[in-house]
C-alpha cells in the first residue's frame, strides 16, 4: 500500500473526489440515525483505496455509491436502530446519477478555479507552502529555503494546509454539525 499512496491519490483525485459532494448530499438526505456523513466518506475512501486493482473499477461513481450504501447498511446492522423507513431511504442513495467522466462533469478550468478558491481561503504562507511542495514539487528543504523558514515550519504549514483543505472540500468550511443540521432543516421543508 505504501509505495503507491501517491498513485492511488491520483486515481482518487480523478475518479472519487469529484463525486464527493454528490455522495455527501445523498448521504445527508438519507437521514439515518447516528450516521455521520464524514465517517461514511472516510470509509468509502478506505474501502476504495484498498482495492487491489483500481483500474478494474469501470464506473467509479456507481462503485462509490454502492460502497457508501454497503457502509450505511453495516452501520444500521451495528447500531440495531433500524428505522422503519431506513431501507426506503437507502434508495435515495442508489438513484443513479449519469456516469460521466470527471472531466465532463467539471470543466478543467472550473476545477482550477475551484482549487484556487480553496487555496485563497488559506493563510498566505500556508498557501505558498502547499504550492511549492505539491504544484512545483519542491522538497521540504527546498521549500524551507525558498521561503526562509525552517523545515519544521514548512511541515507545520503543510499539515495545517492539508487539514484545512480536507475540511473545506465538500463541506464548504462549515463544521459537520452545522452543515447537517442545516441540511435536515432543508429536508424538512422540502
Amino acid at each position: 500500500m505504501d509505495v503507491d499512496f501517491r498513485d492511488r491519490g491520483r486515481w482518487l483525485a480523478r475518479h472519487l473526489l469529484p463525486h464527493e459532494p454528490l455522495l455527501r448530499t445523498r448521504l445527508r438526505r438519507m437521514n439515518i440515525y447516528g450516521l455521520e456523513v464524514d465517517d461514511v466518506i472516510q470509509e468509502v475512501y478506505a474501502r476504495i483505496a484498498s482495492q487491489p486493482n483500481l483500474d478494474a473499477i469501470k464506473y467509479p461513481l456507481r462503485y462509490a455509491i454502492q460502497t457508501a450504501t454497503a457502509i450505511a447498511i453495516d452501520h444500521m446492522r451495528h447500531t440495531r436502530v433500524v428505522p422503519i423507513n431506513a431501507v426506503g431511504d437507502l434508495e435515495k442513495l442508489e438513484v443513479l446519477a449519469p456516469e460521466a467522466s470527471p472531466e465532463q462533469q467539471l470543466e478543467f478550468r472550473e476545477e482550477v478555479t475551484a482549487v484556487s478558491r480553496l487555496l485563497a481561503q488559506l493563510p498566505r504562507r500556508t498557501r505558498e507552502v502547499l504550492i511549492l511542495r505539491r504544484v512545483e514539487g519542491l522538497s521540504q528543504r527546498e521549500t524551507a529555503e525558498r521561503l526562509c523558514i525552517s523545515v519544521k515550519t514548512v511541515e507545520k504549514h503543510m499539515a495545517g494546509g492539508v487539514a484545512a483543505l480536507m475540511a473545506l472540500f465538500g463541506r464548504g468550511g462549515k463544521s459537520a454539525h452545522q452543515t447537517s443540521s442545516w441540511q435536515n432543516k432543508a429536508a424538512d421543508h422540502g
Partner: protein, 281 residues
C-alpha cells in the same frame, strides 16, 4: 470501537502526510502503519488527503497561470521580526533586488542562451522559456534551447516535446529533429524523434512548416491544425488529417506534467533569508 471525531482523524491524517513529506525514522514509519491499521477511517482519511494533494497537483499542472498568485511584498510580521523600519526595508530591499537581478543576469545569460532540458523514463516536464513559449517534455526526452536575437532554435535530441509557441514574427521558432526542421510562428505542436523511426510532427493549433534541406525527395510541407506529418528517411513527407479527439488522445501524456519554476512570485532565494531565520533553521 471508540468513535473518534472525523475532524480529529483528518487532522492526524494531515499531520502524517506532512511528516511523511520529510524523513521519517523507522520508528515513526512503524507508528504510521499502526495508526493506519487502527481504524479503517484512518486509512480513508489519509487516502483522501493524498487525493486532495493530487487534485492540487493536477489543477496546478494544467492551470499554473490561473493558480499563480499576485506578486507579494514581504509580510509586515517578517519586517517586524527584523526590527527594521518598513519603508527603509522596502527601499533597501528593492535596491538589493535590482543588484541581484543584474548580477544574476550577467552570470546566467550565457547559460540561458543554450539551456538543455531532459526527462527520465516515466517523467514529463513543463518548462517556460525566456520568450514565454512553453515546452512540455514527454518521457525520456531531451532538448537544447538555443535562442539568439534572430531566431529561437530548439534542438530535439531524443523523445517528444510539445511546443506552445509565443508569437513573435521577427524571431521565428525553429525545431530541429535529426534532419527535419519545423518552423512556426504562434502555434502549438509536438515533434517526436524516436530511434529507428521517422520524425513525426503533430500540429494542434496554428500553422507550421516542415522542411528537410538535406533530403531532396522531401519537399517542404505546410501543416495546419490537427494534422500529423511523418518524415521517413529518403522519402517525401506524408501528411494526414486527424480529428481533434485523436489529437487530444495523442497529447494525453501531457495531463500529468508537473511544472517547476512556475511561481516566481513566491521567490526569495536562500541568500535573502534574514539572519535570524537562518540561525533557526
Amino acid at each position: 470501537m471508540v468513535r473518534r471525531n472525523p475532524k480529529e482523524i483528518e487532522r492526524v491524517a494531515a499531520e502524517w502526510l506532512a511528516r511523511r513529506g520529510g524523513d521519517l525514522s523507522s520508528q515513526e514509519e512503524v507508528a504510521f502503519r499502526e495508526w493506519l491499521a487502527a481504524d479503517p477511517r484512518h486509512l480513508g482519511a489519509y487516502a483522501r488527503a493524498e487525493a486532495l494533494m493530487a487534485h492540487l497537483e493536477r489543477a496546478g499542472a494544467a492551470g499554473a497561470d490561473a493558480l499563480r498568485l499576485e506578486a507579494e511584498a514581504p509580510e509586515p510580521s517578517m519586517i517586524a521580526r527584523w526590527g527594521v523600519d518598513r519603508r527603509r526595508f522596502i527601499w533597501g530591499g528593492s535596491m538589493i533586488a535590482g543588484l541581484a537581478a543584474a548580477m544574476g543576469a550577467v552570470v546566467w545569460l550565457p547559460r540561458l542562451m543554450r539551456e538543455s532540458y531532459s526527462t527520465i523514463l516515466g517523467e514529463t516536464r513543463e518548462v517556460v522559456l525566456s520568450d514565454g513559449s512553453m515546452l512540455t517534455l514527454n518521457t525520456a526526452s531531451k532538448v537544447l534551447v538555443d535562442y539568439s536575437k534572430r531566431e529561437r532554435r530548439i534542438v530535439l535530441m531524443a523523445g517528444e516535446a510539445l511546443f506552445d509557441v509565443a508569437k513573435n514574427r521577427r524571431r521565428p521558432f525553429l525545431v530541429v529533429a535529426g534532419d527535419t526542421q519545423v518552423r512556426a510562428l504562434g502555434t502549438s505542436f509536438t515533434v517526436k524523434l524516436l530511434p529507428r523511426e521517422p520524425v513525426r510532427v503533430l500540429v494542434q493549433e496554428g500553422q507550421v512548416e516542415v522542411k528537410r534541406p538535406k533530403v531532396p525527395e522531401a519537399a517542404p510541407v505546410k501543416l495546419s491544425a490537427n494534422t500529423i506529418a511523418v518524415a521517413p528517411s529518403q522519402a517525401p513527407i506524408s501528411t494526414e488529417k486527424l480529428t481533434s479527439a485523436q489529437v487530444s488522445r495523442d497529447l494525453a501524456w501531457r495531463r500529468w506534467q508537473r511544472p517547476r519554476g512556475h511561481f516566481p512570485a513566491i521567490a526569495t532565494s536562500a541568500s535573502w533569508c534574514p539572519p535570524m531565520s537562518r540561525t533557526r533553521r
